[in-house]
Symmetry: C2
Amino acid sequence: MSIVFDWANLVSDRLAGRGIPAADVEGPLADRFRAAMEDVRAWRSEGRLGFLDLPDDDALPAEVRARVADWTADVDDVLIVGIGGSALGAVVLRDALGGVRWNASDIDRNRRPRVHVLDNPDPDTVRGLLRDLDPDRTAVNVVSKSGSTAETMALFLVVRAWLESEGVAGDVRRRLLFTTDPERGALRPMAEAEGIAALPIPPDVGGRFSVLSAVGLVPATLVGADPAELLRGAADMRDRSLGDDLARNPAGLFATLLHALDVDHGRAIHVLMPYADRLRSMALWFQQLWAESLGKDGRGPTPLPALGAVDQHAQVQLFMEGPHDKAVVFVSAPFDADVPVPFGSRDPAALAYLADRGLGELLDAERRATMEALRTRERPSASLELGGIDAYHLGALFMLLEVATVVGGALYGVDPLDQPGVEQGKIFTYGLMGRDGFDPPAFPPPDEHRRVGLGD
Amino acid sequence: MSIVFDWANLVSDRLAGRGIPAADVEGPLADRFRAAMEDVRAWRSEGRLGFLDLPDDDALPAEVRARVADWTADVDDVLIVGIGGSALGAVVLRDALGGVRWNASDIDRNRRPRVHVLDNPDPDTVRGLLRDLDPDRTAVNVVSKSGSTAETMALFLVVRAWLESEGVAGDVRRRLLFTTDPERGALRPMAEAEGIAALPIPPDVGGRFSVLSAVGLVPATLVGADPAELLRGAADMRDRSLGDDLARNPAGLFATLLHALDVDHGRAIHVLMPYADRLRSMALWFQQLWAESLGKDGRGPTPLPALGAVDQHAQVQLFMEGPHDKAVVFVSAPFDADVPVPFGSRDPAALAYLADRGLGELLDAERRATMEALRTRERPSASLELGGIDAYHLGALFMLLEVATVVGGALYGVDPLDQPGVEQGKIFTYGLMGRDGFDPPAFPPPDEHRRVGLGD
């Protein structure tokens, strides 16, 4: 059980003078961090950081297990309907703990139930997915704190009608599970009126900080992981990440060093680069957390997901030789088991170096090589080293990044818990959809001279 | 048949004075573009832009069709083994034309053969995938121009041994297809010695510009598309994109305006944001093309993939209220058919605005609303509007972005066709893998004080 943040390659003595001066970490940055922790404690005392208390809900794992067992007793497939913070964590847990790959689909692994996350109201996707599933053998988890998210509720209405399609037997309500606010929102009264099972998203937990609530515990359970382990890892990391001593605080170092790289050193692009397919979607979850929490008031870094070794053939050229505007955080973990590379006398001699090596050995060598290559070009990087890809370590990693994000909010001087910038788009959408009380936007007139192409 | 680049919302008169001054486009930017086209023509006359001629290979589509029919006659699954430019285009074509979704896996759609892209030497992925496939019913396409790419060749050796596993009948060679340089590299002699079918990647076509060669024509054919249509769309766009008149050249405008937004206006992050799940991986293909071609000599923009409407709940907060360092290019296309949202009297009145609307209508409203919301915050955006998601339009879009990329190279003053920054990492990897003639890197000693976390 270990999760280590190695930040040695962020420091100037490793980067020929670029990067963060070593003396800064003990002096000004430690002071900055302590001041930020004052804000964090204030937010906590105001009851705004409910996510910190999620690991203490000892009863929830058993409740989730029981609910899931009942709700999926007779199904082959589960659809999780949500978007943003209500979907990304489920994808991470499914991919990391269920062993589902990112770009190889259409395989029946004889694992029941299969978990599908429906997060986009794309009619082509929805039609294709529902055509392939059996409405008599599918359970649906609708995840929306407010019960008013347009995409989620539209998808819910479509999926419910499909569950109720002609010829389907059984009680549709038994195959629905809502994850929503325990008191407010449109889903809660529906659950009560119709007897639909519901699990809570605590009122003081925002969507993008909700993965350690039922939002994430349900998908973790669905793919066979122990939800209590998720919380145990999160609790251990929380207890390690709330202290004022920067040098001993992994979440504090993550936030303080990346913030300093941005505001003091012009490195506003923060790359998260796991070297494991199962952790690929973790970078997308982090992207939402970091971008939506910190990107406001004209400030905020840009999180950039990457994947090793794939991005060595895509983005690494830019990381190596482009502008000095990035810092890379590598994420690594041991593989379940390596796969040996067979090599024989008929094979090209130029590939003999692969003989008796493993794919995982190659991937690990590539990670270390890329990190060192970046260092020789004075490009800062850090590492998150996980002791395994399991519920415990994922829980710890989620918590580390969530704490880092609220510390980041304090450092950037923004409120990490709101997202005021998305309201205007929602209002315009309501207007275009003809919702009562909303006008469509007054678009500027089209400019045909600025439309160019084939058939223009 | 249409593909239109709408750049009106990049211009200052739409952005309260921010963005690109309208007068610049006719004056200095048109001059810049004309000078860049001189470089492009020089590169072409030096024989470096072979990708421009790929659409003229009238014989290739029929050859690919015949090869694919023969090679996949008795299989259920096809594995495409490649990385970077040898994989990303295949993923785009499979997802866009085969209707495969990004995050919903494990479904048997009764489509034969199923197409899997194996691009990462991750042992957990490989073990899981090979466990689920039948070595007697799988065909493999190995894609590597040089035949020396470590990841691809290691995966090839693993997959070949699996095809040859004990008990498997038939001739393994018949189920292999190499896509590689016609004259050089390690795969070509192996193909000739063992009688393995091979298709060419022309010597003057680099990996990231190869999607309109057999590299992309094979996966397009596998999912049932017409490879000739891919080339026809590309030819039409090429013929529209090589002229000196900036105002009439969609690729020229794409490159020149995004370059100006970076170097003149501090918008170095270029977001490509399709509003269609089927086009999601197009943003990853573009990311490789733009990053690896332009990111060098301390210069180069950072391409950032996004997906509508999902990223309205993840990245759009940052796009709306973060630093003025981004430009967004939306990508849209009509859906195959919309899915109506059923709404009844039992449903919450707050959702009544969804009644009689479609999911696609909602998604389209969200795209227009988000673009307009960005504009009201003085955030520049542009649109690529496709007349459909089919082989013709994908061919045209690939070509538009490829031409834009070489124009971008000329504008940034870098060579868009090389990738010198990835060599150091390869050399270090060889050293760590013990390849003859390569030493492992001299890592700095570990610094235990800079390693912090659980179990540190």
